[in-house]
């Protein structure tokens, strides 16, 4: 444990250590660490941005969805209305047709009845004439009494 030139030796040796460390050892290690720091910061930034983008996209999608829903609802509504209109129209047409058919039938019936009545009337006139002939036992001159007979037939 003597004090000697080891002291000077250590000063020199340590100075060389520090110089080597400062020149060759410290910079690459710190550079790597700083670069990683930057990378991590960038990564966090990117993930932040991505999550923001995602949120925006989700909002957009939700908006689109509601829009589509509203459109669909409107379309359904429209279709319903249209269907109702078609049904109404069809109903009205059917009713009109029915009415037309009924009225046609009624006019037919009227015609038949009138025809029948006319026929009946002529037959009655003939019968009446025949009956009166029989009753009177005399020939009734149809031409003579036609006026009378017509009057009778009209009364029937």
């Amino acid at each position: 444990m003597n004090f000697n030139a080891t002291f000077i030796g250590q000063i020199v040796v340590f100075a060389i250590f520090v110089w080597l460390c400062a020149k060759y050892v410290w910079p690459p290690i710190l550079a790597a660490m700083e670069e990683r720091q930057k990378k991590i910061a960038e990564g966090l930034d990117a993930s932040n941005r991505a999550s923001k983008n995602l949120e925006v996209a989700q909002n957009k999608a939700a908006k689109k969805m509601t829009e589509a829903k509203a459109e669909a609802a409107e379309l359904i509504e429209q279709a319903n209305r249209r269907a109702a209109a078609i049904i109404d129209e069809a109903k009205a047409e059917a009713e009109a047709e029915a009415a037309r058919i009924v009225s046609a039938a009624a006019s037919d019936v009227d015609k038949e009845r009138n025809l029948a009545r006319e026929e009946l009337r002529t037959k009655v006139a003939a019968l009446t004439l025949a009956g009166a002939e029989k009753i009177l036992q005399a020939e009734v001159d149809a031409k003579k009494h036609s006026e009378l007979l017509d009057k009778l037939a009209a009364e029937l």
Binding site: G9, F14, V18, L20, L30, A32, M33
Partner: protein
Amino acid sequence: MASSEGGYHNSAEYIQHHLTNLTYGKIEEGVTLCDGSIAEHAHWGFAHCASEAAAMGFNAIHVDSMLWSIGLGAIFLLFFWRVGKKATSGVPSGAQNLVETLVEFVDGNVRDIFHGRNPLIAPLALTVFCWVLLSNLMDILPVDLVPYLLQLAGVHFQKIVPSTDPNITLGTAVFVFILMIYYSIKVKGWGFLKELSFTPFNHWAFIPFNLFMELVGLFAKPFSLGLRLFGNLYAAEIIFILIALMFGGGFVMAILGGVLQLSWAAFHILVIPLQAFIFMVLTIVYLSQAHEDH
């Protein structure tokens, strides 16, 4: 491996032997050599005993301290350099994690304490911390292991813990001191002299007193820095040596010695990084003071 086995005559010799460095130096003419003869002419060579080493004075170098110091520094530098060369900014693994943890730890301390802008401070702090830590860690190796093996190889003295050599610790501290003075003058210029002259009493009449106080304070810094480390490690080493002596004292003493060895080593494990940390922090603080203009 104590007294009887190691070939020592008594405990004092064992301790003395373990506290003697492998010294290479100049033996002057007329010095009493280990075998009792007188050196006929001055010559350079390894000291053969403690008294020869002491007689060499300043013209000697502790080869063991120096080589261990250089070796440990080289281990630190090579390891960090290799990791730094392959360092990736991607996911780090293994050695890079260790290195980055240390670098981040040191860098954090420098950022906390040192507010100037000097790219040398952080690598300096890292070198100080790692070198002192490795050097202190050598204390954990069994005191006889390396010296005994080297003795078998013919090397008679070996101290493997550089930080138990005051030359080494003071050398490191004085290197820090040189940087302190250099940066004080570089940053403050004449302000450095003014600072020394006008604190603590800001009056011209107190200049001699101030100078005396400040210079004492200034020169106390490297001494306290170097001697604190030396004192802690030297004391610990002596205790390890004393415990090692117990192994030669019979079965019961050997068991007791083993227990003591284990517990002292466990305690010392705390001292080792603590001293390295203190040395590093004080280095940063001193250099920070050198950069601060008042």
